[in-house]
């Protein structure tokens, strides 16, 4: 952790960016052992206002929308600075895929897909994603052990 994440072959990913839940699962599932970590009550989050959270040894950015919940790395892939939770949440229209949820880096405004971590403005960048779930109104994030 602490090193900006880069995918080796981002172009391939871009070309096959056909969203389905399995792909979201895939981009959130890295190699190695993972664990679910409880983070905070769902009620702590305001829709559209990202928050940073500590999940194990990871700094994650939590994003709540009306009925969606995302967790991505808090570290800006371009600079490594811990700022992603301070970015603006929004959406990007993709061909045949409707409006996809996004977050923009607050530093230089690269826009990332919250579901796949792919960057719309610079295909060499990738934002690490984590799976989330709500258990008894508490948000849990799955992170590498």
């Amino acid at each position: 952790m602490g090193v900006p994440q880069r995918r080796k072959d981002p172009m391939t990913l871009l070309e096959t960016r056909q969203y389905d839940s399995r792909q979201h699962e895939a981009s959130c599932l890295g190699e190695g052992e993972r664990e679910w970590v409880p983070v905070c009550p769902r009620a702590e989050l305001e829709n559209g206002w990202a928050e940073a959270a500590l999940a194990g040894r990871h700094q994650v950015a939590l994003v709540a929308l009306a009925d969606e919940l995302y967790a991505v790395s808090h570290l800006d892939p371009h600079t490594g600075a811990p700022v992603m939770a301070r970015g603006i949440v929004g959406s990007r229209k993709a061909e045949g895929e409707g409006h996809r949820p996004t977050i923009a880096s607050p530093l230089l405004k690269q826009v990332y897909d919250l579901q796949t971590g792919l960057c719309y403005s610079d295909p060499t960048l990738f934002l690490e994603c984590f799976r989330t779930r709500i258990v008894d109104d508490v948000i849990e994030v799955e992170v590498p052990v």
């Binding site: 928050e51 959270a53 600079t79 301070r86 929004g90």
Partner: protein, 869 residues
């Protein structure tokens, strides 16, 4: 031109040495020639020396009225003088030409050899030999204008009233001089020999309509009269001017602008052919009777006459440049189109204004009582446009002038805007149509700029084609052409805010205001799609702030805010923030300085003085911001809004309180303005400046709103900025008292906030506004749209609801929650900000320093070293 074997060895003995071109005169024609030669002579075939008797670097004489009204810097682009191959000699006058030796000698005794000589000596103002005329002045150079302005100020002080200025001459220059001096605080009167004004360009009906407008500005007219004598008192001060009807008109200052005469004395002495009414006779190649001597500009006599306009001067300069480089360009015709550059007076004419061509018909709309007159001159079948005259409303001028000689697609009457018609829009300008006559830019050139150079914005299009960069009268047409071409190319002028909103910022702003929408969700549901983005969310946050004020992070508006607004602080590259307390006018007590010093010390912050006379403290973590601000607010500071698209600061000089030269208390005014407009959000950040005298130490003309003290009050400048594309602010109004100053600033700022595009600074906004500064003056000063009271009320509402955002944050625990570092560990410090020491302060460690284990990474008292290792 081939090498001349007889030329002396010191000149250019070998064919490879550059030939020496000497240009006599340093006006716009000489400037254009030097510019054309430096850009086109890539092979280095020529070396150029320009000799000007004026002390000023060549300036835009056409714009003298701007100097008169606003002390504008008229200096033309200095790039030609920075070229290695060009020498500019200022303040020296050529006194003789030796055609045999091919030299010129100057007043200072220098002798300069030439291979090619270009005479660009221009004209002098004609002054008739009447009694006392030595006490009169002329309106011709920057020095003349500056002297007149100073003299009006001096007379106002010594007489204790508005000085009376009599201007002899009712042509373009006379009207500009009279109107400009009237605005500078004089009572002006005009004497004109003809029975109406601008008789060289206008027919009687148009001239009379113009007379109505001029009289309505308080300028007295004496028509069909000439000055007979200038009377002075025993001390030599002017008292009155006697006219040919023996009437005495009281005057303290007399200015002659009755005509110009070519400065052909050098050429006469050198034996060159001179025209019947003066001027150096040239052919279409711009050569004089000596093949090595050329003439350009007002001194050149082409087809029997000399013309005092910049467009033909520029064209001649281009011809000579081309010829000197071996080309065969020809000067063929003189474009007589003119437009009066006097604010509040619209006059323009072109072509055959008096319908003198055989069979020419006139289509006239005249309403002399309202000062309106429009006339088109057309061929006998009413199809071909031959000329036009516009007074009081010159709106059709820009679109019609390029159609000179072309077929009109509709009945001529349809083009007269005062008759209630709006001009047919489907007249496609032929590529050859001249759009910008000052710089000879055709419609084809503009289309090439759009399609080949990719200039799809007005600003870049002007720069790349040069259209509209001199007198500016064609800018509306250039804009129309641009929009037309983009629409045709399917690049439909896209004003959409972003993919979520198809409306422009202004449309959305008005809709939000009219429908009283108060949340992003409402606005999105009504006008947008998707979930918004980092473009539309901050733009809408700004609109909501403009309409409803209130705390910017409440009511669901927190997530809309851009990076800095979101934390009420400025995020830096490592994710920490900087903090800038407001220091109004840059005035701060030692005790408050000590507070800042102590806070920065306690929190380990790096401090730097900003460009805006404030102090920036860097390196604060998000969770530290409330603690830092509690200390600052307790000590009497408030947010400086350095994070907002809002008023940043009002920069001031020390002013009359301390300064030997200051004439007004600039610090007090700066503080008053800063406290009035603090917290005001706009499409872009904006800055003010207030200078206590004309020395302008506060650099107010580099600000969006610049205020400069005068003996009588304040001059108000608007639309300046530094940054990526620096622009000087332009004079909006002169000699205002405090109340008028504030009233105009109120109106200006709200008008800008309501109509500008997203992230558009005031300078770019005014560039894009049809009419530019003149339009702004009409709205703000003359209240032509009747919006004045509404704009002032909007500002009053903002001022009434202002609250310090940081005091408001500290007072509310719910708001403080936004500054927690981690939602599940609010007390745990944000982590990962390694620091190194440099020049006695902390700075962020570079990536290399972090990676290098030998680097000493330090931390301040509360800053932990890097995490995760």
């Amino acid at each position: 031109m081939s090498h001349d074997v007889t030329s002396s060895s010191s000149r250019s003995s070998a064919g490879t040495a550059p030939r020496h071109v000497v240009v006599v005169g340093g006006g716009p024609a000489a400037h254009r020639l030097a510019e054309a030669l430096t850009t086109r002579d890539v092979a280095g075939a020529l070396r150029v020396t320009v000799i000007s008797e004026e002390r000023h670097s060549p300036y835009d004489r056409v714009a003298l009225s701007r100097r008169l009204e606003g002390r504008d810097d008229l200096t033309l682009a200095t790039a030609p003088w920075e070229s290695d191959t060009v020498t500019l000699l200022l303040g020296d006058r050529v006194t003789g030409i030796d055609r045999e030796a091919r030299t010129v000698t100057t007043e200072s005794g220098v002798s300069i050899e030439w291979d090619e000589l270009v005479l660009a000596t221009g004209s002098h103002a004609f002054v008739p030999p009447i009694d006392g005329v030595e006490h009169a002045r002329v309106y011709r150079t920057i020095d003349d204008v500056d002297w007149l302005v100073d003299e009006v100020d001096r007379l106002a002080t010594s007489l204790g009233r508005r000085p009376r200025v009599l201007v002899a001459g009712g042509g373009l220059l006379g009207l500009e001089a009279a109107g400009g001096l009237q605005r500078r605080g004089a009572d002006a009167a005009i004497v004109n020999s003809a029975g109406w004004l601008m008789n060289a360009q206008l027919d009687e009906g148009a001239g009379q309509a113009l007379g109505k407008i001029i009289e309505s500005q308080g300028i007295e007219l004496h028509l069909a009269q000439m000055p007979r004598a200038v009377h002075v008192d025993a001390a030599g001060a002017v008292t009155s001017v006697e006219l040919t009807n023996h009437k005495h008109v009281p005057a303290d200052l007399v200015v002659f602008a009755i005509g110009i005469r070519p400065r052909d004395e050098l050429a006469r002495a050198a034996g060159l052919e001179i025209g019947e009414r003066g001027g150096l006779v040239i052919g279409t190649d711009c050569r004089t009777s000596d093949a090595r001597i050329w003439a350009i500009g007002e001194v050149a006599c082409f087809e029997g006459r000399c013309v005092g306009l910049v467009a033909p001067a520029n064209a001649m300069a281009e011809v000579v440049a081309d010829r000197l480089l071996g080309g065969a360009a020809e000067f063929t015709s003189v474009d007589d189109a003119t437009k009066l550059k006097l604010s509040g007076v619209d006059v323009a004419s072109f072509g055959d204004t008096r319908a003198e061509l055989p069979g020419a018909l006139e289509v006239v709309y005249a309403d002399p009582a309202r000062g309106l007159y429009q006339k088109l001159v057309v061929s006998d079948d009413a199809r071909t446009l031959l000329g036009g005259v516009f007074v009081g409303d010159a709106e059709p001028y820009a679109a019609l002038r390029p159609l000179l000689g072309a077929q009109l697609s509709a009945d001529p009457g349809a083009y007269l805007s005062v008759a209630g018609a709006s001009a047919p829009v489907d007249d496609e300008l032929p590529d050859a149509a001249l759009v910008c006559s000052c710089n000879a830019v055709t419609a084809g050139d503009i289309r090439a700029g759009i399609h080949e150079e990719g200039c799809t914005e007005l600003g870049t299009l002007k720069t790349c084609t040069r259209a509209g960069t001199q007198c500016g009268s064609c800018v509306p047409l250039v804009k129309k052409l641009l929009e037309g071409e983009l629409t045709k190319a399917g690049i439909a002028v896209n004003n959409a805010l972003c993919e979520h909103f198809s409306m422009s910022r202004q449309e959305l702003f008005d809709s939000v205001r009219v429908l009283e929408l108060t949340s992003f969700e409402e606005i999105l549901t009504r006008f947008g799609e998707g979930h918004g983005c980092d473009v539309c969310k901050p733009a809408i946050a700004s609109m909501l702030a403009s309409h409803f004020d209130g705390y910017i992070l409440d009511s669901g508006r927190g997530g809309l805010q851009d990076t800095n607004d979101r934390a009420l602080a400025n995020m830096q590259k490592d994710g920490t923030y900087s903090v800038v307390p407001r220091i109004p006018g840059g005035e701060i007590s030692p005790a408050k300085l000590a507070v800042i010093a102590q806070v920065a010390t306690d929190f380990g912050l790096y401090t730097k003085i900003t460009g805006g006379q404030r102090i920036d403290m860097f390196g604060a973590r998000l969770d530290q911001l409330p603690d830092i601000w509690r200390r600052l607010v307790d000590a009497g500071f408030e947010s400086g809004q350095a994070y907002g698209k809002a008023l940043r600061n009002v920069k001031s000089c020390v002013g009359s309180t301390w300064c030997r030269f200051g004439v007004q208390d600039s610090v007090a005014m700066a503080i008053r303005l800063e406290l009035r407009y603090r917290g005001l959000r706009a499409p872009h950040k904006f800055k003010f400046g207030v200078s206590g005298c004309a020395r302008e130490c506060a650099e107010a003309r580099a600000k969006d709103v610049g205020v400069i003290a005068t003996d009588q009050g304040w001059n108000l400048y608007v639309g300046g900025n530094g940054g990526f594309q620096p622009t000087h602010a332009q004079l909006l109004a002169a000699d205002l008292d405090d109340d008028a100053l504030i009233r105009y600033i109120d109106r200006y700022m709200i008008y800008y906030i309501r109509t500008a595009d997203r992230l558009q600074r005031t300078a770019r906004w005014m560039e894009e506004l049809p009419g530019g500064i003149d339009h702004v003056r009409e709205v703000v000063v003359e209240d032509s749209l009747g919006l004045g009271a509404e704009l002032e009320a909007a500002m009053a509402k903002h001022i009434g609801s202002y609250q310090d955002e940081w005091a408001a944050t500290l007072a509310d625990p719910e708001r403080l929650r936004r500054f927690r570092s981690f939602v599940n560990a609010p007390e745990a410090p944000d982590v990962g900000f390694p620091r190194v020491a440099e020049r006695e302060q902390w700075r962020p460690a570079t990536a290399e320093e972090v990676a290098d284990p030998s680097t000493v990474l330090l931390s301040g008292s509360t800053i932990p070293v890097r995490s995760g290792s």
